[in-house]
Amino acid sequence: MHELSIALSILDMVDEEAQRRGDVGIEAIHLKLGLLSGVVKEALLSAYELASEQTRFAACPLVIEDVPVSVYCSNCNAERSIRSVQCFCCVECGMPASEVVHGLELQIWALELAE
């Protein structure tokens, strides 16, 4: 359970970014969360709610976009989805593949600023 420290980091980083932009108001935080990030979405949302209470972000939603896992398949020579996280095989040809292309994301990708 490290979601609370992740939520606090998100708030710190967004606060810093807001100040850098002239103390602009933030209306929403958009986060990309990979399935292999090691962070649980529901736990992060609860932690964020708790961490943002009584801060300037109390009314600012954290919008999470799930990022599924994709790998590089050497047989198809392309980025492919996997069958499941219990089976790292190319969905197209079935070849085992361990080179993860997407799914590790834990990234604040965008902010909605108040004009």
Binding site: M1, H2, S5, I6, S9, I10, M13, E17, R21, G25, E27, A28, H30, L31, L36, S37, G38, V39, V85, Q86, C87, F88, C89, P96, A97, S98, V100, L106, Q107, I108, W109, A110, L111, E112, L113, A114, E115
Partner: protein, 225 residues
């Protein structure tokens, strides 16, 4: 007055601070010629017993050291001190994983040039340590025969993040009717191509092979200068 939100892309990794510290650590380790291996597993899978045996054996051939992470107590550091190698405890308080900054802080006072291999034992946890780079060269995930063959399927993220998998407590395999083929198939399913070692730190079975592998990897990374 209504306001119109404007979307700006920022693309900042939430763990960028940890990643920066880990990156700096990795450069320091390379410069000093120390090969760094981290260990992750669930609590009780035999990390400390493995470390005790590994440090004692490595001491015959090179200059090893270890950092051991736990929520509380320095029992592990005291126990490992018997191997007569430098060992420091990282006590995380309530934190469930190690972060690069803790490794950085704990290394203060050690001359890295005096070391050849540094083993870092993470807190026993198969979830959170997956997200944090510690600047290591290799991440080892340990699975003991008493835990159940399907553990890799239950915790695919950490197994997928590891470079090497080790099945520990092989001396108990028969007693607990450990299904070796199933365990290996499950590890391979979540991390195709991963190198797997089977050993018993208690009897020493399989330790030579793993330590030889680590030394070989270490030699590849830092050719004799």
């Amino acid at each position: 007055m209504t306001t119109t939100p404007r979307i700006v892309e920022v693309r900042q990794n939430v763990l960028k601070h940890n990643d920066e510290v880990a990156h700096a650590l990795r450069s320091r380790f390379q410069e000093a010629g120390v090969f760094v291996v981290s260990l992750v597993s669930s609590p009780g899978s035999g990390k400390t017993t493995f470390l005790e045996r590994a440090l004692t054996m490595l001491r015959q051939q090179c200059r090893p050291a270890a950092l051991v992470g736990d929520l509380a107590t320095d029992n592990d550091a005291q126990r490992l001190a018997r191997s007569q190698t430098p060992v420091k405890q990282i006590t995380t308080g309530s934190l469930c994983h190690l972060e690069a900054a803790m490794v950085d802080r704990t290394l203060e006072g050690w001359d890295l040039k005096e070391l050849d291999i540094l083993l870092i034992e993470n807190v026993g946890n198969l979830v959170c340590p997956a997200s944090y780079d510690l600047g290591e060269d290799l991440r080892l995930v340990l699975l003991s025969v008493t835990e159940g063959e399907d553990k890799p399927l239950k915790y695919p993220t950490i197994f997928n993040s590891a470079d090497v998998a080790i099945i520990t407590k092989m001396d108990l395999a028969e007693v607990v009717e450990f299904d070796r083929a199933a365990a290996r198939a499950n590890i391979e399913a979540v991390r195709p191509g991963i190198q797997v070692f089977e050993l018993s730190a208690k009897t020493g079975q399989g330790m030579d092979e793993l330590l030889a592998y680590l030394q070989e990897k270490s030699a590849v990374r830092s050719p004799a200068s």
